[in-house]
Structures are given as C-alpha cells and as structure tokens.
Amino acid sequence: MAVTRQDRPSGWYLAPALTFFGAFAVLPMVLVVYLSFTSWDGFGTPELSGVGNWERLMDDGRAWDSLWLTLVFMVLTWLVQTPIALLIGVWAAGRQRNRAVLSSLFFLPLLLSTAAIALLWAAVLDPNFGVTQRLPFLGDFNFLGNTELVVYTVVWVISWQYVPFHTLLYQAAARQVPQSLYEAATLDGAGRYRQFFTITLPLVKYTIITSTVLMLVGSVTTFDTILILTGGGPGTATRILPLHMYITGFSGYEFGYASAVAVLLLLLGAGLSLAVTQATGFRKMQSQQEGM
C-alpha cells in the first residue's frame, strides 16, 4: 500500500515528549522567572515585589563571592577531571582483560549515591577519626576545617564522584577510533605518545567538548555533595552559588530571592554551554570518522 501524505504520523506523536518537556523543563523555568519577581516564604501566596529581588541580588556581596567561588570550582574541577578521565578512558578502551577488570572498579563510584559519597569522604577526612589519625605520617591536615584547604578537598571529592562518568564517555569515544589508524601510524613511525596526541586526541575532540559542557553545567547546578560534606562551610568557604540559592530558599525561606539567584544560574549555565559549543565548532559537528 502506498504511503500518502495523509498516512504520515500526525503531530500528536510528539505530544508525550512535549508534555514531559513542558511540565518538567519549560514550566519550572517560567515559574522560577515569575517567582524571582515576587516575595514568597514558601507557604502563603507569592506577592509581586517588582525588581526588588534583583536589586538585592546586585548589592548582595555574598552572592557575588559565591559566584566567584563557583567559577573557581568550575575551572578547578575541569582541570582535575578532564585529564584524568581522558587518560583512564583511553586506557580502559583497550580490550585487555586486566583493563576490563580494573575499569569496572574505576566505575564503582557511579553506583554510589551522592549522599553516600559525601558521608564516606566526610568520615575519611574527619580530623578526629579519619585518615589523618589512622595514618599519622600523612601529616595533620584538617581537610574540611581549613578554609583554604577545604576548597581543594571539595574539588577532590567532586572529581572522585564524577570522573568515572566522564571516563565512560572517553572510553566509548576511544573505542570508536578505528584500529587501522593506529596500525597506519605505527607503520608511519609514530610512537604511543605521538599516537595519543596525533590520533586519539583529535578523534575524541567532540567528546571532550561534550564532557566539558556537562562539567560546566554541572558546576552551576549541583550542590548536594557540598551541602552534605561541608554545608558550605567552614564559614562560607565552600558556599558556591547553587548552594547559596538552596540555603537562601530552604533555610531562609526566601523563595523569591532564591529564584532570582536560580535565574542567574540558569542564564550562566545556558550561556556557558552556548559559548563552548559556538567557540569549538561543535554545532557543525559531523561524524569524527568522516573520510574513513
């Protein structure tokens, strides 16, 4: 039977996807923008307050400190995670049995909940009962209590949590690189390091971008690990902007103001991912294996 124009699937097939996208993405975004112009303690009726929240945000030194800290975290976690994930991912892409066994160990943190990870590390790094007491030769560091050290501690824990996921991305990408390219390079006289930089790296380029965007957006949306690990402290040493938003909203019951912060984060996340994809030509992305 011939398929005529009328037999084409109607637009209604889009409905389920659109419903979910609308209900869980568009609607909350619209609501949060609306709430940012209201004053609401979470119980009564939100009352319009004009640009009050936005004026307050402009003058809120703590919010700007948090934003700066967020950017520092973003850069540090990217710098730590990307090389590690890339190297382990490429290594794990090999088909050797020992690699398969070790990789499945590396991927274990993926199975743990954020709360479990944060509590685990809080226990390990506890100044009184943790690793510094058990292994005194490590030195007497207060990983979670020292306002400077805690930044690096949090970067470490977050990296430990997310490196396996990015490793998985890189493993999949590296496995897509045809073996014959490495063979050709071997015959051409390129050693293993040379092959990594000349073949692997250019051919996983788009995965690096994908992973980077995920990390950047992650930095402006997730705060759960830090909330459990340090609560943003000591003082405000680890109070990144998403955590600041959470604390303002759910501890201070200032949902209107928290919404203004959320809108700022939304713009920041969207802006960053757009900037990265624009700058890297990701939007013109084609198969990495074109021409093979």
Binding site: P178, S180, L181, E183, A184, A185, T186, L187, D188, G189, A190, R194, T198, I199, P202, L203, K205, Q286, Q288, Q289, E290, G291, M292
Partner: protein
C-alpha cells in the same frame, strides 16, 4: 628494492587450536608483484600483517633482502602499507596524510613538500592536497592511501585488499593503474585479495592459500593451466572449473557414454577406483555423444554464452557449466552433449585432492 622471504613462518593466535598461517615458505623476487589470494580465513592477511610487523611471528623468520626483520619494529622495516579502509587520518589534509611518515622520520619541511608533490602528481592528486579525506571520493581516497605509501619510497609495498571499497567499474580501472604504477616504480609488492580475478590480472605470480597452508604459487597462467590440487582448480577461474568424481575404466575415465582416454601411468597413481575430473567451462565442446547436460540457465554475454545445467553420472547429479557459442546458444530445458577438449582435462586424486599426472 629488496626481495621478501618467508622461512617456515607460522602464526598461532592466542587461544586458537590451529595456526592462522602454517609454516609458510615463500620467496618474492626483487621488484616482483606477488598476490596472496584465498577465501576468508585462509591466512593471507595474517601473512601480510606479519611482514608489516603488525602480527607476531610465532615461528620461523621473515627476511627483507638479506635482513632478518622478524623482530624489527614495523617502522624500521622500510615498508609501506595500503589498508583496506585506507586508514587515512580524518583530521589531516591530504598533504599531511601523505607526509606524516616523512615528518615522523624527521625530514625537512621542504623535502617533505617536494616528495608529497611528486607523489601527488603521479597520482593526479595535486588539486586535492589541501582537502580533508571526507571531501574526497572513494577513488581519490584510495589514491591518497597509495600516495602515502609511495612518498616513503619503501623497499616493499604491502597492500591489504586496497580495492574492495571501490565500486565495480572503478575497481577495474584502479586495478590496471596500480599494476602499471608498480611496474613503473619497480618496488617489490605483496598484495592481498580474496578476488581471484584481481589476483590473476595483477600479479606477476600468485600464491593461493587455504586454511593457513600454501596451496600453490606460480604465474597466473600456471595456476590456470596446471592447478596442483582440487582447491586451486576450483578457486582460480571464473566461472569455476567443473569438478566431478568419475569412475575409472580401462584406459580412461567414464564420461557419460564415452571413455575419456587417460594414460595408464596416470591412472595408476590414483588411490581409488574413481578420480576427480576437472574441466573448465571453455574446454567443453558440444558433440553428438559424451556427457549429457540438462540446460537450466543460459547466460548470454554476447560473444559467448554460459550454459548452466545438470548432468547425471550413475546416481549422482552434478552441476555443470559450459561455454558455448554466443550466437547459437541451446534452449533452456533442452539436453545437449559435451566432451572435453583433448589435453584440457585435469585429474585429481579423490582422497588427497592432489593432481595426477601432468
């Protein structure tokens, strides 16, 4: 320039119970174009990859010229390889692809550019040097892969089914181009293919492999005229040689209602009361008597026609192909009789498959 010698070379893959290549003994002359051919899994690619250094030699030695390269790293063997999928670096331009090995070897920019340009000229790629592989057609990519091998000016070219990704027409053209180029450059070439037509048309000599064992090596004509065993007889030639097991009679082999005369000394070599008789489709003539063929299909090719049919010998029914005059082909469903041309029959032992007599 150099010769290539395989001395009792074996390759056993880990976990495999039989070798992929079994005690290969082969000598390729300096400047020769040798084709390794065989069905998939015959060990032809493994043999080539051992020569390239991409596969470990389990046993035996490989020599390039007088130099034992068995344990020499691939880059120091002075060879260049063309891969089946070309293995062009997708993110590099044609010029960079071709010059990569020279860059690795530490040559100066000017010399690399010069050699790349020369090769590009030879292959008609001058206009494409700045393009990436994705902006090239299949045939152009194939030529870039050739160019990448040529710029290295190696002692030996290795080619692993370099034409199998091209369409039929281009494959025939490129086949000739590669053969011409090889003759012009005079570089020893080992070429792997599963296509026996490619093997016959391109190679100075052809080496037929099966299950890791060398079946026969020789000039294309020799393989065609004097296959040493049933496998080579059936593998070389298109359409394939007709092979039937036929009873031996006094002074010959029974073919339908006639006896094809064979010398007693030859028949005496047979281990059984029947032999495998092979005859090529073009060596069958239509006659009054002989082997009856019930015609199933007639393929008219213009000058010739191929008759595909069945013939009965005792209880057994055999498929048979015969070439006939294209202007007077038999009707489908009719019965014709054919006899083999004198001196164009191949006899093989039933048990060993080896050739009997000359």
């Amino acid at each position: 320039m150099a010769s290539v010698t395989y001395e009792h070379v074996s390759c056993v893959y880990p976990g495999a119970d039989r070798p992929a290549v079994d005690k290969l003994q082969l000598h390729v002359e300096d400047g020769e174009f040798l084709v390794l051919v065989g069905p998939s899994g015959c060990g032809k690619s493994t043999s080539l990859r051992m020569l390239a250094g991409l596969e470990d030699v389990t046993d035996g030695r490989i020599l390039i010229g007088d130099r034992d390269v068995t344990d020499v790293p691939p880059k120091d063997r002075d060879i260049a390889m063309v891969f089946q999928n070309y293995a062009l670096y997708p993110h590099m331009s044609v010029a960079d692809n071709m010059g990569f090995a020279l860059r690795m070897a530490g040559l100066g920019k000017a010399e690399i550019a010069e050699r790349v340009r020369e090769a590009a000229k030879l292959l008609d790629l001058e206009d494409y040097l700045d393009r990436k592989p994705k902006a090239l057609s299949g045939g152009q990519r194939q030529r870039v892969a050739m160019g990448r091998a040529i710029v290295r000016q190696p002692q030996v070219f290795l080619m692993d089914e370099p034409l199998s990704n091209l369409d039929a027409k281009l494959r025939v053209q490129t086949r000739t181009q590669i053969a011409q180029l090889q003759r012009r450059l005079g570089i020893t070439t080992v070429y792997v293919t599963h296509d026996q037509v490619e093997a016959m048309t391109m190679g100075d000599r052809v080496c037929v492999l099966k299950d890791g064992l060398l079946m026969q090596v020789g000039k294309p004509r020799e393989l065609y005229d004097r296959p040493t065993n049933v496998f080579v007889a059936g593998f070389i030639g298109s359409p394939a040689m007709n092979l039937f097991t036929m009873p031996v009679a006094d002074g010959g082999v029974v073919l339908g209602d006639v006896v094809y005369p064979v010398e007693r000394t030859v028949l005496g070599q047979a281990s059984d009361s029947s032999v495998v008789l092979g005859v090529r489709p073009e060596d069958l003539d239509i006659a009054e008597h002989g082997l009856p063929i019930e015609v199933d299909v007639v393929e008219e090719l213009g000058a010739d026609a191929y008759v595909y049919g069945r013939t009965k010998q005792g209880d057994a029914e055999h498929q048979i192909t015969a070439r006939v005059d294209g202007r007077r082909p038999p009707e489908r469903g009719s019965v014709i009789h054919v006899t083999p041309r004198q001196g164009h029959v191949h006899l093989f032992d039933v048990a060993s498959g080896e050739r009997l007599g000359d």
